[in-house]
């Protein structure tokens, strides 16, 4: 049986985070979210390897962005299923890596891991980036909790 998970999100909370996600997507168009050490590969092979990783990453980011279409802006609902769960769960990781690298440098790794951050003490751009970081983690957890077997069976 096909599994589908629908989630109703709070529009006033999530909509402002989409600006951050779109900016991250543009930044990641030609950059890997997790730079990799590829010393053991020859130059030509390394170029093709990175190109394939970038293609895959961009496909994943597009899948996540496509969640936020007309239905989201009218109903506040997004849906995960067997076709989009895998790319979206990967895209969340790519965006979170980029957030840490580009927008959350002022927060320690320990704070990012535990989520133990005093939000009121953050500047607005950092606060927004951290909200986005937590939102994407929640999406990942939802997908893993409800669609883990779908992803593993794909």
């Amino acid at each position: 049986m096909k599994r589908r998970v629908e989630v109703k999100l709070s529009l006033p909370v999530v909509a402002p985070l989409l600006d951050v996600i779109r900016e991250l997507s543009a930044e990641l168009e030609k950059t890997l979210a997790a730079p990799q050490a590829l010393h053991d590969l020859d130059q030509d092979f390394r170029g093709a390897w990175i190109g394939d990783l970038l293609d895959s990453q961009n496909g994943d980011l597009r899948a996540l962005l496509s969640l936020f279409d007309g239905e989201f802006f009218t109903e506040g609902v997004v849906a995960f299923d067997e076709t989009n769960a895998e790319p979206i769960v990967r895209a969340c990781t790519a965006f979170r890596l980029q957030l840490r690298e580009r927008r959350l440098k002022t927060l320690s790794d320990e704070a990012l891991e535990t989520g133990d951050v005093e939000m009121a003490g953050l500047d607005e751009p950092v606060r927004k980036a951290f909200m986005c970081y937590l939102f994407l983690a929640t999406v990942q957890e939802l997908i893993i909790q409800h669609l883990d077997s779908t992803i593993l069976g794909a």
């Binding site: 990799q36 394939d52 990783l53 990781t93 890596l97 840490r100 990942q140 992803i151």
Partner: protein, 100 residues
Amino acid sequence: MPESRSHTRTDTRASTELQIEDAWRVVVLNDPVNLMSYVVMVFKKVLGFDETKARKHMLEVHELGRSVVWTGLRETAEAHVFTLQQWHLTAVLEPDEAPR
């Protein structure tokens, strides 16, 4: 017959030496971003681990900073590294020389 046995011994030794020379490790390094549940899922998906083995390697990455998740021929090791990198884990290829 004895001659044949001798050939078999030689072939076996050559084959063993080839396997040792060609062995490469797939090593996953820690990062502060990926959720534990995500890393467990990726190990199950990419490497075919069961839940217990996936959790063991995830904790090794988390606590020791790295875990050797696969050892074998280079071509397969490269395929595993590529797929783990597609899932945004920091995965590297190492010749299987130093102690694990």
